[in-house]
């Protein structure tokens, strides 16, 4: 059979132009398949890495996914707020180790502003057990200081010391701005690969201060409060949007969750971030699975190209098969020749596709990292990816079976003489 493999390679080399195109089709489809696989694995991991170390997220009663979306991903808005007294009450529960308040609703040039307290920086965890790291400066200490996420700083080209004005609401249209009380940037965060990169963090007191006189949703006419005046007021917030809760023991999670869900004074909802993230991924994962299905179909199309090339060559090669038969080739060796050609072509396509993938990853990695916060490692193929490649090879051999079977039967029927 080794002599047949040598013939197969020489035969392929003889048809190198059409073979090269087929090879490219297979290689590209393999690159696409593996690329999609890498991206979706990375997306899923990145997604699951968004938040960790938080046992419960609490907000006004709504849907769990909705609460996760607005509190963690800053997508959409809360339907209702939490009363500050509820926050204090929950934070004081014996099983609660810490509770970080979150106040949303303002923005700066399209980036969401998160009002919170300094403990946020010590309790927020992402990608396993990573804590927030400052690239420049540090956390806020006074009401009118702000900390920028990595993306905010890099795309707006801000650095520490920069003055920024917050806008009321979150949108891209011209919003009413809190021009009377500018904030200045005291810290810039390292990249986290989470929505935090696109957030501006300020103190709850700052949020309260800029809304003095805005109780009706717009500034009271004629009222002009300066930051100095605001500083002398009581800046304890009346409401917050959500809170992140850490417990002393995980065992108490469901008990505390039930306590919050059954809260007497106002309707609240507590969710386990991990479980709700999974729920959310099940929703958005449809697109990812579709993408995978499409890339799998591209492989099938590539193999259809291979089949076409093999079939087209077959008629022209009947003489060749008769010659091989005459020098002693068994019909099974003719079958082996065609299968060998298919195997060699598929294998070369796979190798080329994998090389192309790594080249692409090398080239695109900085872009993916800076634009989408995706980290694609130059890791060797995972067992699952090797399984996919094995599948591609199997499909290739399968598509070689038809021409091989045809060649086998023709060479049996033709014998040494071909009726042309």
């Amino acid at each position: 059979m080794s002599s047949m493999l040598d013939l197969a390679v020489k035969s392929l080399w003889n048809r190198r132009l059409s073979v090269a195109f087929t090879l490219c089709a297979i290689a590209f489809s393999v690159t696409l398949l593996l690329g999609v696989e890498r991206l979706r694995t990375e997306a899923r991991t990145g997604f699951a890495n968004t938040i960790s170390g938080v046992d419960l997220i609490v907000g006004a009663r709504s849907g769990g996914v909705q609460l996760l979306l607005y509190s963690v991903f800053h997508i959409g808005n809360a339907t209702n707020n939490i009363d500050w007294r509820s926050y204090q009450d929950i934070a004081a529960q014996s099983q609660v180790a810490w509770a970080v308040p979150i106040s949303l609703g303002d923005s700066h040039r399209g980036y969401r502003v998160v009002g919170t307290d300094p403990t946020f920086f010590e309790h927020y965890r992402f990608a396993g057990d990573h804590t927030i790291v400052f690239k420049a400066g540090g956390g806020f200490t006074t009401p009118f200081e702000a900390v920028l996420g990595a993306d905010v700083a890099s795309s707006l080209k801000y650095s520490t010391g920069q003055q920024i004005v917050l806008a009321h609401g979150a949108g891209d249209v011209t919003l009413m701005e809190h021009t009377n009380m500018p904030f200045h940037v005291v810290g810039i965060l390292d990249r986290t690969g989470t929505p935090l990169d696109r957030s501006i963090l300020v103190s709850l007191e700052g949020i309260t201060a800029i809304h003095v006189g805005w109780e009706a949703g717009v500034p009271m006419p004629g009222l002009h409060v300066t930051d100095d005046q605001a500083m002398r007021m009581n800046l304890t917030p009346k409401t917050i949007t959500a809170m992140m809760v850490g417990l002393k023991s995980r065992i108490a999670t469901f008990r505390v969750q039930r306590f919050i869900n059954d809260y007497r004074d106002e309707p609240l909802l507590a969710i386990l971030p991990g479980a709700t993230l999974q729920e959310l991924w099940d929703l958005v994962g449809v697109g990812e699975r579709m993408l995978f299905a499409v890339s799998a179909f591209v492989v099938v199309v590539g193999m259809a190209g291979l089949l076409t090339v093999l079939l087209a060559g077959l008629e022209a090669r009947r003489r060749e098969m008769a010659v091989l038969r005459s020098v002693g080739a068994h019909p099974r060796q003719i079958l082996g020749l065609i299968l060998g050609e298919t195997a060699a072509l598929t294998l070369a396509g796979i190798v080329l596709g994998v090389i192309l993938l790594y080249v692409l990853i090398l080239i695109l990695r900085p872009v993916l990292e800076s634009q989408w916060g995706m980290y694609i490692g130059i890791a060797p193929p995972t067992p699952r990816e090797l399984g996919l490649l094995g599948g591609v090879f199997g499909v290739g051999l399968l598509s070689g079976l038809l021409p091989a079977w045809l060649a086998y039967h023709r060479s049996l029927a033709d014998g040494l003489t071909v009726r042309l």
Partner: protein, 238 residues
């Protein structure tokens, strides 16, 4: 006549077990070293006979004995190996594998035959032996590394003859090898082929419909005379 290289007894062949016989030969015997002209026009059962001699097909009745071996008694793959070891073929046209060099084409049978590989090794190795053969057949040894497709039809037929002869098979079967050649080249080709067969002690069965070539051979056999099925007007096999 000395020991028979080919011996057909009461052979009948049909494409289907119950179909009309396309070949029916009571007796045909060709001796060792004989150079036989087998005259067979289209429809005389020529292709069938060639397939039977090579063990590509087996008759539904009778025995085909080549070099003392009853081919019908062998399995299909053993017959293929038998053909590889003992029989060299030359066809009418398109003898060469287009993607191989002249050398690789000449050496093609060695891929399938241990015995011929061994003989070639003893004669100085594949390249030397291939070069010797094509030189004997009137081609320059410098053609060895050229792609087969660059050769003229006449050159291709000589390469095919070298392939049939390499490794010294006992039987060489040529099926209309000269029909694409002009008259001068034709006679030269046959003379060179015969010389080389003689030097290797090979038996030559030369099939052609061109009766003008018959005097060049030891013996002439008209397939129509020995094939009773061949006289049937219903036979369409070429």
């Amino acid at each position: 006549m000395n020991q028979a290289v080919i011996d057909l007894q009461d052979v009948e062949f049909a494409w289907t077990p119950a179909g009309i016989a396309v070949l029916s030969i009571d007796h045909l015997s060709i001796g060792k070293g004989e150079r036989v002209f087998l005259k067979g026009p289209s429809g005389s059962g020529k292709s069938t006979l060639l397939n039977l001699l090579g063990g590509v097909t087996v008759p539904r009745r009778g025995t085909v004995t080549v070099l003392g071996q009853d081919l019908g008694a062998l399995s299909a793959s053993t017959r293929d190996r038998f053909r590889a070891e003992h029989v060299g073929y030359i066809f009418q046209l398109f003898n060469l594998v287009s993607y191989l060099s002249v050398l690789d084409n000449v050496l093609l049978p060695l891929r399938f035959s241990q015995m011929r590989r061994e003989r070639v090794r003893q004669r100085g190795g594949p390249r030397a032996e291939a070069g010797r053969l094509i030189t004997r057949l009137g081609l320059g040894a410098e053609l060895l590394d050229r792609p087969a497709t660059e050769l003229s039809v006449g050159q291709q037929q000589r390469v095919a003859a070298a392939r049939a002869l390499i490794g010294g098979p006992e039987l060489v079967v040529a099926d209309e090898p000269t029909s694409a050649l002009d008259a001068d080249t034709r006679a030269l080709f046959i003379r060179l082929l015969m010389e080389e067969c003689a030097s290797q002690g090979a038996t030559l069965v030369f099939v052609s419909h061109d009766a003008a070539l018959e005097p060049l051979f030891d013996r002439g056999i008209a397939l129509n005379d020995i094939n009773r099925a061949g006289r049937s007007p219903h036979v369409v096999n070429a």
